[in-house]
Symmetry: C2
DNA sequence: GCAAAAGTGTTTATGTTACACCCATGT
DNA sequence: ACATGGGTGTAACATAAACACTTTTGC
């Protein structure tokens, strides 16, 4: 097999599909492109991978640079490599998706992007590159994964009510869920900790819960599997 | 955002984890490396992505060049990009996995590899690069995916017996399955066509079945979901 | 006292598990 | 006739689905 150096090399980027949850619907964080190509259009936060960093680090770095978001849930999604996906030449993009808690959403424009803004998922502007396709893949992945992994909590504040998490599941799965059955099942797993705290409002106070990561890990090690 | 050309670029390869099923256990197709680095060691079939081909095509091309396999089930797995994974420098590898029917397994050494050989999955030699890790990811993916997608048939001949597919599921999932329950469930989905053909042997003849792709697609469109 | 959302159990239907014997062939 | 794997049904159990009213608060 020949040496690396004899081969023409593509550029490699990472692009992040950043999901947020705003109480009713899913949201997506997009940045306005500050340079060519697609200058002024909305795009996924992302950028070129440096030669000395691994892919996860590159995704995290770009996310922070362009959106100020840190310590989000981040997972590799799929790699997009059509030769025509970038007008500048051959650019392969490793897609990631991120889940951001609402209490960490203060977003100001970063160094690399002229602007960053949350959009409702069903109301996205037209997008640069093949970013629309990347988003579709991310959405499908989120929809599939939330049914058997407790990643939904990454989109909620640390303490949340059962109604909040049900609304989130309904938003992601796109269908209504029976309240009693949902609560029964979710609580039966035993990884939610009921707190002695309540949210007050013009109605009966709602109890707050917390996702107990340690207990979930233990259950998982014992082979118990979670399924909504 | 700066131009592509201002960035140092990594090399990009594709590597294929090729699964086969030999009647009892899962097998993996490996090639002996014909050049540095890791010359003479076993590795996944794969190679550099050309600038004018997409990733799926590159994986298919390398697979055919190194193993003569064509028209296999092929799916992108994960992208591996640790900066130290290749001693030649920065090489990012887009991992794929392939499922090969036993009747298409005649493998002769290709142009790029000195040798290609099937190994039982529980008896692999030591591997070049991080290919051991890639195989682990592929195995987990196969184990997960076979439970809700009918990809098992890609590892069997076109016509197969129910015992064959059960043995395959047991090999992939790593646990015994009840014969009656397995048959009942599998047939209940309605995407297996019972043929009027039987395999003879020193015992009662075993009926042959065929996976009916059209019927499966139809069921899938109607939202019926398959789960083993 | 009214509006608004929180909270709670039971019944029915469906799906999953466990389990053992007879059948058809080759030798 | 015997060895080998192929083929089949039922009962117990567990899980999922359907469903409506009472509670607690703010205004």
């Amino acid at each position: 097999m020949p040496f690396t150096y004899e081969h023409a090399r593509p550029s490699v980027t990472v692009d992040c599909v950043v999901f947020g949850f705003a109480g009713e619907g899913l949201q997506l964080l997009l940045v306005k492109r500050g340079g060519e190509p697609y200058e002024g259009e909305w795009a996924l936060p992302g950028g070129f991978v440096r030669l000395d960093e691994d892919l996860d680090s590159a995704a995290r770095r770009e996310l922070e640079e362009e959106t100020q978001l840190r310590e989000t849930y981040l997972e590799q999604l799929y790699t997009f490599g059509s030769p025509e996906r970038d007008p500048r030449g051959r650019v392969i993009s490793v897609g990631y998706y991120a889940l951001v808690r609402p209490d960490r959403q203060p977003v100001a424009g970063g160094t690399d992007a002229a602007d960053a803004r949350w959009f409702p998922l069903n109301g996205l502007p037209s997008l640069a590159f093949d970013h629309g396709e990347i988003i579709k893949v991310a959405r499908d992945r989120l929809q599939g994964k939330i049914r058997y992994q407790p990643i939904g909590f990454e989109l909620l504040p640390e303490k949340f009510t059962l109604t909040q998490i049900q609304t989130l599941y309904e938003a992601i799965l796109g269908c209504p869920i029976d309240k009693r059955n949902f609560r029964k099942k979710l609580l039966s797993f035993g990884f939610l900790e009921a707190l002695e705290e309540y949210v007050r409002g013009p109605h009966r106070p709602a109890r707050l819960y917390r996702f107990d990561q340690a207990r979930y890990s233990k259950l998982q090690r014992e082979g118990i599997l979670f399924q909504i």
